[in-house]
């Protein structure tokens, strides 16, 4: 049996598809018994799907650095 803390970690890993098969099995079993965790897991999945839906973009550190350099030249 795993603790709720452990379950939360595995749940986060599954959001990035990084949990191992045995971890997923443990998580499933835990979610089956633990109401609070299954609720939290649902919320977590929802957040992942929101992030995917929003098609977020971000600038890499390198691009930001370039921007800063450019900025310094002017300032």
């Amino acid at each position: 049996m795993i603790s709720c803390d452990k379950a939360a970690t595995i749940c986060n890993k599954t959001q990035y598809r990084e949990a191992t098969f045995s971890e997923v099995l443990k998580l499933r079993l835990h979610l089956f018994i633990c109401k609070a965790c299954s609720k939290a897991s649902k919320k977590n999945k929802q957040l992942t799907s929101l992030c995917e839906k929003a098609k977020l973009y971000s600038l890499s550190d390198k691009e930001k650095l370039e921007m800063k350099e450019q900025f310094k030249g002017q300032a």
């Binding site: 939360a8 970690t9 986060n12 890993k13 959001q15 990035y16 990084e18 919320k43 977590n44 957040l47 929101l50 992030c51 839906k53 929003a54 098609k55 977020l56 973009y57 971000s58 600038l59 890499s60 691009e63 930001k64 921007m67 800063k68 450019q70 900025f71 002017q74 300032a75």
Partner: protein, 184 residues
């Protein structure tokens, strides 16, 4: 009303991603959006003395960015001579029958709405990310948005995986709370 001050040194760190998302959703081209954002920062610096301190820094920068986006479209249109709108009734112009009915928008289509909603959602999420503690925001952005692998993040930031998962967990919890307040 509180007085706001400008701190140009922190602009890139604090607002680059937010402005970039705003720009990308309007010009749908990463390179152009990047240029617009850096132009915005430069313009902001140049007219910093005109900043009255009524609006928050970010609002002020967004206002400049909006002008830059408009300028961008003006420029691309003038290159072609002038804005040209061409309409084809349908690609199969020789089709007979109910051609007018076919052009009517589908009242049950959710596509248009959800596109607009997704734009706003993107900005809402970005907003919430920027409210997180810096380290958490950084890890979350790298992991979720840039899709960097766990190993690479750990190497780059010099932390161990369990550290990373704890930070991800806190970031996700924080984000969820923030989105619950501002989005749902």
């Amino acid at each position: 009303m509180t007085q706001h001050t400008l701190e140009p040194k922190l602009w890139v760190d604090n607002y680059a991603d937010y402005l970039f998302n705003f720009a990308v959703s309007r010009v749908s081209d990463g390179e152009v959006a990047k240029d617009l954002v850096s132009e915005t920062f430069l313009a902001g610096l140049k007219s910093a003395k005109n900043y009255k301190g009524d609006a928050a820094e970010r609002t002020w920068l967004i206002a400049i960015l909006k002008r830059k986006v408009i300028d961008h479209y003006r420029k691309t249109n003038s290159k072609k001579g002038k804005a040209e709108v061409r309409m084809n009734y349908s690609s199969a112009s020789d089709a007979e029958g109910d051609w007018l009915e076919e052009q009517v928008a589908d009242p049950f289509s959710m596509l248009e709405n959800s596109a607009i909603e997704n734009k706003e959602l993107g900005l809402a999420i970005q907003d919430c990310i920027s409210k997180l503690p810096k380290k958490q925001a950084q890890v979350f952005t790298m992991k979720t948005i840039q899709g960097v692998s766990t190993e690479d993040i750990c190497n780059e930031l010099d932390i161990n995986p369990s550290n990373l998962w704890v930070m991800i967990h806190r970031a996700r919890t924080g984000l969820m709370g923030c989105l619950n307040k501002n989005w749902f």
